[in-house]
């Protein structure tokens, strides 16, 4: 059976990537923004729900921290394996796309010759 977690949404994929290092909610938001070159900006309501959900799915787990007001999370083994499988899935898509680009340029050449 295929992995029920895949494909990851953009929010989830970036959140898991950001939590390879431990961090609290706002740190994740800031890391995601910089990792995506400002393309993905998570809002706090979405971030809170995503963290809650990922913790429930055991893809991330809480780690101890000194700041009592903010919960700190880190990716779990399961989370990392899931992220890796999604990366493989995307790499496969990218390689398929690269092939079509080759086909497309071959087609263009043929059109020019005509």
């Amino acid at each position: 059976m295929r992995d029920p977690y895949l494909p990851l949404t953009e929010t989830v994929a970036y959140t898991l990537l950001a939590l390879v290092e431990p961090g609290h909610g706002y740190a994740v938001m800031a890391r995601v923004e910089s990792m995506s070159d400002g393309e993905v900006r998570l809002a706090p309501g979405t971030m809170y729900g995503a963290l809650e959900n990922l913790e429930k799915q055991k893809l991330i787990a809480r780690v101890a921290n000194a700041d009592a007001r903010r919960k700190v999370y880190q990716i779990t083994e399961l989370g990392y394996r899931t992220l890796a499988r999604d990366a493989e899935r995307m790499a496969h898509l990218v390689s398929l796309f690269e092939n079509t680009r080759g086909d497309a340029s071959a087609r263009d050449e043929k059109e020019e010759q005509r």
């Binding site: 949404t9 929010t11 609290h24 909610g25 706002y26 938001m29 993905v40 900006r41 998570l42 809002a43 706090p44 309501g45 979405t46 971030m47 809170y48 729900g49 995503a50 009592a68 007001r69 903010r70 919960k71």
Partner: protein, 209 residues
């Protein structure tokens, strides 16, 4: 300082109303249904509404801290109040508390869980009272049994009016409780149906956009 009485089941409508208040110089400072407002420079803030069922004290701290870190001020709502109110300065570029449609729609599903639970409780109560053979409930639907005075409906003229008016307060006392319960049950079920439609509509926006 001013107060308004208002009830909303639709968070988007509530947001629109609260932002209309901001345009008129009133910023919400206490949650509904009796909203309280504090004066503010008209149009200088954006108010957003979230819904979270009862949180633990630690979860609530973490929740409010995340919004505060992101530049939102928590205006109203307690950890058990469900609805939470936040404001950002109107000049900010991103004045949304949700960055995707599905998380925005999930607000309604969380609220649905709570109203659904209350509706189920009322339904259970009505069911138990009906099944327990308490005559009050069956007589709700047979108006002929409301008045217990022997021979009331055979009386004529002032004798009837007098007896009828005399007993009416007792009828209300006897049936008022069950009637209120049935009405409350109906209101909760209607709210559940309304929020379900709102949830479906809010999630559908994401799929077509």
């Amino acid at each position: 300082m001013s107060t308004s009485f208002k009830i909303f089941a639709d968070f988007d409508k509530e947001e629109r109303w609260l932002n209309q208040q901001v345009a008129e110089g009133r910023l919400v400072s206490k949650a509904g249904p009796f909203y309280r407002f504090a004066p503010i420079e008209p149009g200088s803030a954006v108010v957003r509404v979230d819904y979270r069922p009862t949180m633990s004290a630690a979860d609530f701290d973490d929740y409010v801290a995340l919004f505060t870190d992101s530049g939102w001020r928590h205006l109203a709502g307690t950890r058990t109040s469900g609805t939470q109110y936040f404001a950002a300065s109107a000049e900010r570029a991103d004045t949304e508390i949700f960055s995707d449609t599905s998380s925005r729609a999930l607000r309604y599903r969380r609220a649905l869980g709570v109203t659904g639970g209350i509706a189920a409780l009322y339904l259970l109560l009505v069911f138990v009272l009906v099944v327990s053979g308490n005559g009050v409930f069956s007589s709700l639907f047979t108006p002929g049994d409301w008045y217990l005075t022997p021979g009331l409906w055979q009386k004529e003229g002032w004798a009837f009016v007098g007896a009828f008016l005399f007993e009416t307060p007792f009828v209300m006392l006897r049936l008022g409780g069950p009637v209120l319960l049935v009405v409350a049950c109906g209101v909760m079920l209607a709210t559940v149906a309304h929020q379900w439609r709102l949830y479906r509509r809010a999630s559908a926006v994401g799929r077509t956009a």
